[in-house]
Symmetry: C2
């Protein structure tokens, strides 16, 4: 089923049962442009919080597109090229993923077309320019260029768009290319994407050792589709399975509470119901989250591998309100100096909470979080926050019920109860 | 004369005849947040150009504000604080300097007010947000908050502004504070600013050695006021004086040809004629350059120390058109991956020219340039370039004559002829 969408070599990775899959030499060579990413200690934040905790963060903002996304973009572009593919399509929320794929396609000589969620397209026009600088074609979604896009526009002409809709458009553009030289590329959720990101956690482990630390006590990452979180967390999850006492914490917006409030069910990955069903916590494929600035966290589902770990009690998801996240981001900028992405602020908020807790408990905890990207392209949100124009959003129970009601009628919905798939 | 404007400890640096002035331990401690900045080799650009030259660049974009400017901002904020100053005022063109001073003042607990040249304020709204994130107050110049600003607005209500005007406003705001706790801070031009930036060249020298290189054959930096260029070039200039064969090249826009076409004369540093006279190449303090996107290179004058070296034949200035610079920046982004500031593109263009020349000559030259800042906040210019909306500007001879005509009537204008001061 996946063959028209992805190249077979990536599908083989998607379903592989191997514990280790080596990074091809050529991919490594490209990743060396900015990797290993630095592991830093947030000494100034520690000082400010007067916490006994030692706060480390893996700085993924060092890649040219400014986030962890190129780790998988480069790998995917390379595997597609190996398979003879000449053009990749994708969707993007905040623009981090789209620009990462544009960057990777430019390096590997592939054509690239990006459907960008309209609200982000409008809020972050410079991400579009960034993609164009790297030679990609970026358009707002829903667009009039696909059936999926036209259908949504007809029903909801003023929609802010969603990742689900944009995914439908990008997949349609790929599978309808009769030359067979176009495939779709997904920036998160799937197994092979999470696999490519584990370089983050593997590096962090070695770097913590160099810094004289053993295993961390707390591992934190924000999770929209789950890939930056899983990239850092999975290598430590194995330690936890083997008995290490590690608290592993994916964080999400209260406005889009996939892990903290949604049912576990089989659902489509996109709004137009074109993907195979995925077993995951899901707010329903028709869910359109409120316009929070953390565009990368506005997805209705979550990586199945992350969900399974939650079910097995390995992860403890948390949700945070937008205003608290921006407050944390401001504290971060004024102590550590750097300006983080609104998505990343959901990890910063949790790290601050945990550091304060360590202070209250008088414990010398080691906190590690993924600094998934910088916020230099996302200053619209900071401006709105500083001007007092932002608000918090909660999802009313009745809306949650409405959006998830039809999940029960999907095939294999009974799997939800067993928590196995 | 300088005492109401700068603290005495910085004035002492400005007029110091010492060859070396140590960096205070506390300043170093803050610079360690991002220094030493990486020295990188542009292997992908070399490959693309098929040049025998080895192209190195000092990556100053790694600081949180994204440029070399914090090197002096931190030092200046620290010396002001030592002197009991509680608030700094400044001007900013592209916004790089304003955000650097906001960053430094935030770290050292000083108040900060920034007058931003209106055209940049409008073109780069996110720089303002960045300054606000670090707690600074940023307003468009000319403003109605100073006599200097009001006077300009009366005469030219639609002016895009200029660095000269903004300097006048910032100085007025500082010297009219009756508490005596406010001073002005300049991001370039002056001796102490250039001194603070020499950490760039000193680091580069050691890093080149680690990379197995001797002295570079060509040293390049873009020059608006001259500080990033001088910061890299001065440590190598000493080698050149001692006989080393190094070509040292400050680069500027054809639209604002201070070093390549302007007369050497005493002139004011600002439009309102409030600064002491500086001996420099100058287009006249009333010069308002065309609205090129490299806002940091739109200054009528040039650091006196840089000018003196040009007169003594140590430096070979070059000028580049805007379109060629953006083409070079695009080549850079598509080979090396990163997106450079429009100012920096004037160094990239020269580095590419020199690498092509080395190829034509079949010479294995070592080219070193200063990558003064990233362009992530400057994508408006890239967008305009990609949309074909940008053009080149040349300064007609009659305009050059008009703007520089009154220089002869300024006191000490005769010094121009001797080239000594």
């Amino acid at each position: 089923m996946l063959a028209p969408v992805f190249p077979m070599n990536l599908i083989e990775q998607e379903v592989s049962a191997d514990r280790w899959i080596d990074i091809p030499e050529e991919v490594l060579h490209i990743l060396y442009r900015w990797r290993p990413s630095p592991l830093k200690r947030a000494v100034y934040l520690e000082e400010y919080l007067k916490t006994p905790a030692r706060i480390y963060y893996k700085d993924e903002s060092y890649s040219p597109p400014g986030s962890h996304k190129p780790n998988t973009a480069v790998a995917q572009a390379w595997y597609n090229k190996q398979f003879g593919i000449e053009k990749l399509t994708t969707e993007t929320g905040a623009g981090q993923w789209g620009s990462a794929l544009a960057f990777a396609c430019n390096l590997l000589g592939l054509e690239c077309k990006v459907f960008m969620v309209r609200i982000s397209f409008d809020q972050k026009p410079f991400r579009k320019t960034m993609m164009q600088v790297w030679g990609a074609n970026c358009i707002a979604s829903p667009s009039t260029q696909t059936n999926a896009g036209r259908k949504v526009l007809e029903e909801m002409p003023d929609t802010p768009g969603s990742l689900g809709i944009a995914i439908s458009e990008a997949i349609e553009e790929a599978v309808t290319d009769k030359s067979g030289k176009t495939r779709y590329s997904l920036g998160s959720v799937l197994n092979h994407v999470l696999l490519h990101q584990t370089i983050i956690g593997l590096e962090a482990k070695k770097q913590l050792e160099i810094a004289g630390e053993k295993l961390p006590d707390v591992v934190i990452g924000c999770a929209g589709g789950g890939s930056n979180f899983a990239g850092l967390a999975f290598p430590f999850t194995l330690d936890k399975i083997h008995g290490a006492d590690i608290q592993i914490m994916p964080t999400e917006p209260v406005a889009c509470p996939t892990m903290t409030r949604a049912p576990f069910a089989y659902d489509f990955g996109d709004t137009a119901c074109t993907t195979p069903l995925l077993a995951m916590y899901t707010l329903g494929h028709a869910f359109i989250p409120p316009p929070i600035h953390a565009g990368g966290l506005r997805y209705h589902g979550m990586a199945p591998l992350v969900c399974q770990c939650i079910i097995e009690g390995l992860f403890e998801p948390r949700s945070f309100h937008q205003l608290k996240c921006y407050e944390s981001a401001l504290t971060w900028a004024q102590t550590e100096g750097a300006i983080c992405a609104p998505e990343t602020s959901h990890a910063v908020a949790a790290a601050i909470d945990e550091a304060v807790k360590a202070k209250e408990e008088g414990k010398e905890k080691v906190i590690l979080f993924n600094y998934s990207g910088h916020g230099l392209m996302d200053l619209t949100g900071y401006d709105a926050f500083l001007s007092g124009e932002l608000c918090d959003y909660s999802l009313p129970d009745e809306d949650l019920e409405k959006f998830t009601a039809e999940l029960a009628s999907l095939p294999k919905a009974e799997m939800r109860k067993s928590g196995k798939w």
